[in-house]
């Protein structure tokens, strides 16, 4: 890490680092910028001996100066070697980052002081070593050449000093007329600065606004419990999971641990079926091994193992093999009456939603309803399980579903959970709380903390009112972009401009920056000190890995500046943690302050209050509704300038670089819409135009608009991509609004997708069964292949020795979230090609997530299949390459020799999985210097005209092999090598390792009953195999 304390900001003692800097007279500086010093041409003047001598003397002097010259810029001169530092060797540091409004604990890899790769912090209580796509991609934003780089005053370049002077003049007295608007404050240090603001300038106010927020969850808990509480879910314990419009696996994910726990319970299906040929219980073995893999790679975290990990590992060791499947569930054995064995079985997921989400794709029973009707559904369900007194049926159309669901819930008291989504109104959250209370789930599968958060919508509405009343003289916006994302009815943009002084701290020169008096460039999380409270309240420390690349400051530094706080951000964060060395050093190393979780609250829901609130709540109006969902790529718009995310296909639609309006096939037919028809959506006199995508499985009479697009000022990548759905989103309809109208315009628009075909054409690509079928026929997946013994002309290569790399992808776990795709892009320097080139089929992703629909158009099921190079032993690509640029390694890898490739593309043609990617152009041509810093130095950047593809992260394999060789030729242990996709997968769907080692996790997975080889009949012997998917439908709903 680069220590930036004292240097770079002018608050500390001023040091000079070279004679150059010391002698920096204005004239000298001027000379520096000139190619030829003034007077250099005077030598041509004849007869001036004196002048000649002058110049000679001067140049001798200057030559001397240049000899003294040292790089003054921000590199680290290792005059004395830094202990333990090996050039080119990766170093890992724990930190935390605000990712899509949540503190995500991370471990960042830096090479020679340059962060290049982001992973999850495995030691952190809420992380499992995974990082989602947003976190993975944030490294690209760090090196974004379109980042805000300068202080701007009224659009003109200024300096921090000038701003400092202005701030000093502004922050005086009681703070009358001063308002601060920030995103949700998750940093304890920032919160303490907020407190000192209140103390120093009592009349100043601080508002928080997040366009995608937890308002309704908190308001719902207030209805149910009389307290603003945040729910936390333990899906490991839940046998029945009910989602009320809550995409907890993707857009509404409250923490990656929820995905991990959910996936563990999905994989528990194997406990129902006797083990395969091997006779051992693969799944149990896998579990134990997965924990070996839990350990950190190279940063010394290995020794000090984490509490949670330890007890899980214990569970795996002590629990009987069959029960170990849901290992972590065992130690926390529920007090409920159900036998323990059952809690290790597959869970059952019911999802009620309007749009088809990734959570819906995992559902055993998905019910599509308008978002507005979910309230009625929740009320009916609450009555059915007697959470609230019986009353009239409101919905009436899903009786059978509700009856079966209620029965299932009542049969799993204390081992079920109902989750309500953030787009749903408070009453739905209250009903969910009441149901959970009735079922005895509170304290078991759902617990609560008190985050002390107010309502975003209310706060910005209040601020808008104050601005309108002229009570705001100075508004400081910290990292938020209200001009773009504030509710449309507040007309915030116009109001913002009416404020006398507006100060905006932002990562980009965005819509708000353009309207501000002052714009201040904000530091990236990897450049600045800070802290954050994770979802469970754990104080996590944000340590910088690099000095700010541009002259930027963090929110903590800016507020300190405004308040005249002299201490640096580092000192403040350290003081805030109340830790002294060595505990502080340990906390920095771990990335969090141990044991700082927020206290759990055990509230009791008041059924009566919920009933009253339900009766008071407005009933859903019939007709067309419009739903505002965050984007899987840009979230609320903050990642709009991130090209990796823009080009990551939306998981369900596979659309890139756009945010189509989603409608159901039936609605499309009624309105005669086709894919690409441009519609005008109108609500409350506001209009947006959007291209349509017909989404199978979408609710009728409902249109889903994705937020986060239509940016007008963000950078070259994101400006003008898509339409801005915020223009329709009002404070009373932050999640959805009814009473919308939809008209078809004459225009059409070409939407670009990475997958044009949505069914499997009757082919056994993704293999799937129900639990019953699986119990009946354990090997159902491999039975779908034609087993033909083929005569082999030549002797096969002997792969029985040494490391033989192989992979298993468990389709039962995979949720299709794109984390692996972005991780791979980051690890392997995969270029971005842009919208036009994707439309021509030239996207470069080495791993893609194939998405297939099955069933009817109205109520389909969806499966995802990660697809990368399968590393075939009989690789069809290898035999056809005329220049032997793709060849097999003795360890079973299908290697690419990029510099030998001439680019005939024959290999790609002959690849049955079509996973090879060709550089049709020089994709790296226009990358600016700072953008090049994102490249992983361990991986070649491919030139135009060569083929590329997944190679199981061969650079990581080599790194470990070399380390082991240096270490005395020890054999590589299972879990020492993690591929980028495997490491970041929140669902732990990918196993990778040595298939020659019968004890390795991947070997055990390959013995799993559900294991199958895709395109087995081609006899190409791929090293990657898949575990088939099993769903767990309720027999009563069959």
């Amino acid at each position: 890490m680069i220590q930036i304390e004292g240097i770079g900001n002018q608050t500390g003692k001023k040091f000079w680092r070279s004679l150059n800097e010391l002698a920096s007279t204005p004239k000298f500086k001027e000379w520096l910028v000139q190619e030829f010093p003034e007077g250099a041409t005077d030598l041509l003047d004849r007869g001036s001996r004196r002048r000649f001598m002058q110049l000679m003397a001067a140049s001798m002097g200057l030559a001397g100066l240049t000899a003294c010259r040292r790089p003054v810029e921000k590199i680290l001169p290792y005059a004395k070697g830094v202990e333990g530092l090996v050039h080119g060797a990766p170093q890992h540091y724990a930190t935390v980052m605000n990712v899509a409004g949540q503190a995500q604990p991370l471990v960042v890899e830096a090479i020679d002081g340059r962060p290049v790769k982001i992973e999850g912090n495995r030691k952190h209580p809420i992380s499992n070593g995974a990082a989602n796509a947003w976190a993975q991609a944030s490294i690209l934003s760090l090196y974004d050449p379109d980042r805000s780089q300068k202080v701007l005053e009224k659009g003109k370049a200024s300096t921090w000093e000038a701003f400092g002077a202005a701030a000093k003049a502004t922050f005086v007295g009681d703070g009358e007329g001063i308002r601060i608007l920030s995103g949700a404050v998750v940093s304890p240090t920032l919160a303490s600065l907020r407190a000192s603001l209140a103390a120093k300038h009592p009349k100043a106010k601080w508002y928080e606004y997040e366009p995608v927020n937890e308002d309704s969850a908190l308001a719902g808990s207030e209805l149910a419990f009389g307290d603003r509480l945040r729910p936390h879910y333990n899906l490991l314990k839940a046998d029945v999971v009910v989602s009320l419009d809550c995409d907890f696996l993707q857009l509404d994910n409250p923490g990656l641990n929820v995905i991990r726990d959910f996936a563990k319970r999905r994989r528990a299906v194997d406990s129902a079926v006797p083990a395969g040929h091997g006779g051992d219980h693969q799944a149990a073995g896998h579990k134990a091994d997965a924990h070996k893999a839990d350990e950190h790679k190279a940063d010394g975290h290995k020794a000090d193992g984490h509490k949670a990990d330890e007890h899980k590992a214990d569970a795996a060791a002590h629990a009987p093999a069959a029960a170990a499947n849901a290992a972590a569930a065992a130690p926390a054995a529920t007090p409920a009456a159900a036998p323990a064995a059952e809690s290790t079985s597959i869970n059952r997921l019911y999802v009620v939603e309007n749009n088809f989400t990734l959570t819906g794709a995992q559902a055993d029973h998905r019910l599509r309803l308008r978002a507005a009707d979910v309230q009625a559904f929740a009320a009916d369900l609450a009555r059915e399980v007697a959470a609230i007194p019986q009353g009239l049926k409101i919905l009436g159309q899903s009786d059978k579903y509700i009856a079966a669901l209620a029965k299932d819930l009542l049969a799993h008291k204390g081992r079920s959970v109902v989750l309500a989504g953030p787009r749903q109104p408070a009453i739905v959250h209250a009903l969910a709380a009441a149901i959970n209370q009735t079922l005895g789930n509170i304290g078991e599968t759902v617990s609560y903390t008190r985050p002390g958060r107010t309502s975003s919508a209310a706060e910005i509405t209040e601020l808008a009112k104050e601005v309108a009343a002229g009570q705001v003289k100075t508004l400081v916006v910290l990292g938020a972009n209200p001009v773009y994302s504030a509710p449309a009815d507040l007309d915030f943009g116009a109001k913002y401009k009416s404020i006398a002084t507006t100060i905006h701290l932002g990562f980009e020169v965005d819509e708000t920056a353009a309207a501000s008096t002052w714009h201040l460039p904000e530091s990236h999380a990897l450049e600045s000190w800070g802290d954050a409270m994770a979802a469970d309240g754990t104080v996590s420390l944000q340590q910088p890995l690099i000095e700010p690349i541009f002259k930027t400051k963090s929110a903590i530094e800016v507020v300190s500046m405004a308040l005249g706080v002299a201490t640096s951000a580092y000192e403040q964060v350290k003081a805030q943690s109340k830790l002294a060395d060595p505990a502080w050093r340990q906390a920095l190393h771990d990335g969090f302050v141990a044991g700082s979780q927020a206290a759990l609250v055990k509230p009791a829901a008041n059924a009566k209050a919920v009933e009253t609130a339900l009766n008071a709540a407005p009933k859903a109006a019939a007709g067309l509704e419009v739903v505002f969902a965050p984007s899987a790529s840009t979230f609320d718009g903050r990642y709009a300038n991130n090209a990796w995310l823009q080009e990551a296909p939306e998981p369900m639609t596979k659309i890139v670089w756009d945010n189509p309006a989603l409608v159901s096939p039936k609605t499309a037919k009624e309105l005669k819409l086709e894919e690409g028809s441009v519609i005008v959506v109108e609500r409350g006199g506001r209009k947006v135009e959007a291209p349509v995508l017909v989404q199978p499985g979408h609710a009728d009479n409902s249109v889903t608009l994705t937020l986060g697009y239509g940016r007008t000022s963000v950078g070259r990548v994101g400006t003008g991509v898509g339409y801005n759905a915020y223009l329709l989103r009002t404070a009373d309809a932050m999640g959805f609004g009814t009473g919308a109208t939809l008209a078809k315009s004459a225009r059409t628009y070409e939407l670009v997708t990475t997958q044009e075909h949505h069914d499997q054409a009757g082919r056994p690509v993704v293999r799937e069964a129900t639990v019953d079928k699986y119990k009946e026929e354990a090997h159902f997946a491999s039975h779908e292949d034609a087993h033909i013994e083929l005569f082999q002309l030549f002797d096969s290569f002997d792969y029985s020795k040494g490391n033989q790399w192989g992979m298993v992808v468990d389709l039962q776990s995979c949720i299709g979230c794109n984390a692996c795709l972005v991780a791979c892009q980051s690890e392997n320097n995969i270029p971005v090609v842009g919208r036009d080139q994707v439309s021509k089929g030239r996207e470069m992703h080495w791993i893609r997530l194939d998405r297939y629909f099955t069933g009817t158009e109205d109520d389909p099921e969806v499966v995802h299949q990660p697809m990368a190079c399968q590393q075939c032993e009989n690789a069809p690509c290898e035999s056809v390459c005329p220049v032997a640029a793709t060849v097999h390694s003795p360890e079973g890898l299908n290697d690419m020799a990029y510099n030998r490739c001439v680019g005939t593309r024959y290999c790609a043609n002959n690849c049955p999985y079509k996973v090879r990617r060709f550089n049709y152009f020089n994709w790296h041509k226009d990358i600016e210097e700072v953008g090049k810093m994102v490249f992983n130095p361990d991986v070649t950047v491919r030139m135009r005209g060569v083929m590329e593809k997944c190679n199981y992260c061969v650079q990581r394999i080599q790194e470990v092999k070399i380390a082991h060789k240096v270490d005395g030729r020890k054999p590589i242990k299972d879990g020492d090598v993690l591929t980028a996709c495997q490491q970041t997968c929140p669902a732990e769907a990918i196993s990778f390792g040595n298939i020659n080692d019968p004890e390795s996790a991947v070997s055990k997975m390959k013995k799993n009953n559900r294991n199958y080889t895709l395109l087995h009949e081609l006899n190409i012997k791929p090293r990657t195999t898949y575990l088939a998917k099993v769903r767990n439908p309720n027999p009563e709903l069959a």
Binding site: H758, V883, Y913, F918, F921, L1014, L1015
Partner: protein, 476 residues
């Protein structure tokens, strides 16, 4: 008792004259050489200007391609090969007729070949030149294309992959080009000597003198020439079959449904002969009219070629049917899908264009009236070549665009660069022809004359009653 007397009319019907109008040997020489000797016609310049501009267009398209990347074409993933390999196979196919006429028909002593072989061989060379462009520039890094040749080079420092059909292709096509050029040149030598002997300027005399390698027409020369020609014919014959067989291996050796087919070698060779003869018809119909050699390239020649077109077209049609049958009979779902997709999928328009041009249109040649109708055969030969272009496009694009995993299915659309590059190759082809017709005898003079004398001799062995059809051949 049967009348053993030959009816001259019956003889003529069985074996129609290959040279009509009874020209003298000198007249034949005149007819063939004169266009290299007269002052350049204005029309020649016009033709050169047009074809040369199109060739320049080709050059600029290739420059753009090489400087920018393969992305300027429509190729994508999954369709890694588009118009590049389609056009390569198309031109190589056209290049089949020449050597077939020269070598195989020579070995089979088909005398009718003499009037058209020079022209057809030239066409072969020019078509192979056009074809040869594509494998070179279709690679991602054309400046490294020489790595495909097993020549010692420090960059690669290893052998090529001899398992790759693409490498076989390199050998097959380069061998074919070399042998065809030699064969053509050897055949040219006596004719070059004729032009040398007729030369009126020193420069002409020197240039044609050098090119004719000191040919004096002595008996030893003729003996060596005949032997060399025979050997080259023998060498070329297997090449005619092998080159397209190996081109078909590019596809047949792969594992892609629609490509992985054992029928490909004969099917490709038949298709190549089919398209080659059609191209000869197209060009010959124009050339015999422009250069007024209708008496040397007679209706008999044209009709014979049309018969070959009919035969090979029917073979090709049969191959299409067999592919469909096997797709069904094999029970392989991927194979079945590929063929159903060809006929009914997004490229159905290409498939049915191919079937109507290749299978239906040649069937008109069952009728003698149509097969001897010049405008009709001209139009039909163009249809055949359109059809054969579509055949290659259908094989390449429809097999690739939807293979095993539906998730990776795509669609290929050519770009303007694809189209202009292909158009440009016609410019090159025609430019080479324009030069050929200006500077070289377009008909093998010595062979035609030899054939005339031989025919005359044969006639002397016929019963006396059959004479009267011709006067003795005049000496020149």
């Amino acid at each position: 008792m049967a009348d053993l007397a030959f009816d001259p009319k019956a003889v003529e019907q069985l074996s129609p004259p290959l040279v009509t109008g009874q020209p003298s040997l000198h007249e034949v020489t005149e007819a063939v050489s004169i266009h290299t000797e007269i002052e350049t016609h204005r029309n020649w310049y016009i033709a050169l200007a047009i074809s040369g501009s199109i060739t320049l267009l080709l050059g600029s398209m290739l420059a753009y391609l090489v400087s920018t990347g393969i992305g300027v074409w429509g190729n994508n993933n999954p369709v890694g090969w588009g118009w590049d390999i389609t056009n390569f196979v198309f031109w190589i196919g056209i290049g089949h007729a020449g050597t077939l006429i020269s070598a195989i028909l020579f070995l089979f002593r088909q005398k009718w070949r003499t009037s058209i072989n020079r022209f057809a061989e030239a066409m072969t060379l020019f078509a192979v030149a056009c074809a040869g462009i594509y494998p070179l520039v279709h690679v991602g890094r054309p400046w490294r294309a020489y790595w495909l040749f097993p020549i010692p080079n420090a960059d690669l420092a290893m052998w090529q992959n001899f398992r790759s059909p693409l490498l076989w292709d390199v050998f097959a096509v380069s061998t074919y080009a070399t042998v065809s050029a030699l064969f053509w040149y050897v055949g040219l030598i006596p004719d070059l000597a004729i032009i040398r002997d007729r030369a009126k300027t020193q420069m002409r005399h020197t240039i044609y003198g050098l090119l004719s390698l000191g040919w004096r027409g002595s008996a030893t020369h003729w003996k060596n020439y005949e032997k060399a020609y025979m050997i080259l014919a023998g060498l070329s014959t297997p090449l005619v079959l092998s080159v397209h067989t190996i081109v078909s291996f590019d596809f047949a050796v792969s594992i892609i449904p629609g490509w992985h087919t054992t029928i490909f070698p004969p099917y490709f060779v038949a298709g190549a002969i089919f398209s080659g003869f059609a191209m000869v018809i197209t060009l010959m119909v124009i050339a015999r009219w422009v250069f007024k050699v209708e008496h040397l390239v007679t209706m008999t020649h044209l009709e014979n070629m049309n018969k070959v077109i009919l035969a090979t077209g029917t073979i090709v049609g049969y191959a299409y049917a067999t592919e469909f049958f096997i797709a069904w009979y094999s029970g392989n779902e991927y194979e079945r899908f590929t063929f159903i997709n060809r006929a009914m999928g997004p490229y159905a328009w290409a498939y049915w264009s191919m079937v109507s041009c290749n299978v239906i249109s040649p069937q008109f040649f069952w009728f003698k009236k149509l097969r001897t109708n010049i405008p009709f055969m001209f139009v039909l030969s163009i249809f055949v070549n359109i059809g054969m272009w579509f055949e290659r496009f259908v094989i390449i694009a429809t097999s690739l665009h939807r293979d095993y995993l539906p998730s990776s299915w795509g669609y290929f659309r050519p770009t303007i660069v694809d189209i202009l590059t292909f158009f440009g190759t016609f410019g090159l082809f025609i430019t080479l022809f324009v030069f050929f017709t200006r500077f070289l005898p377009i008909i093998a003079v010595s062979e035609v004359k030899g054939m005339m004398i031989q025919t005359e001799h044969e006639k002397h062995y016929l019963p006396a009653t059959t004479s009267g059809s011709s006067e003795p051949v005049k000496a020149h």
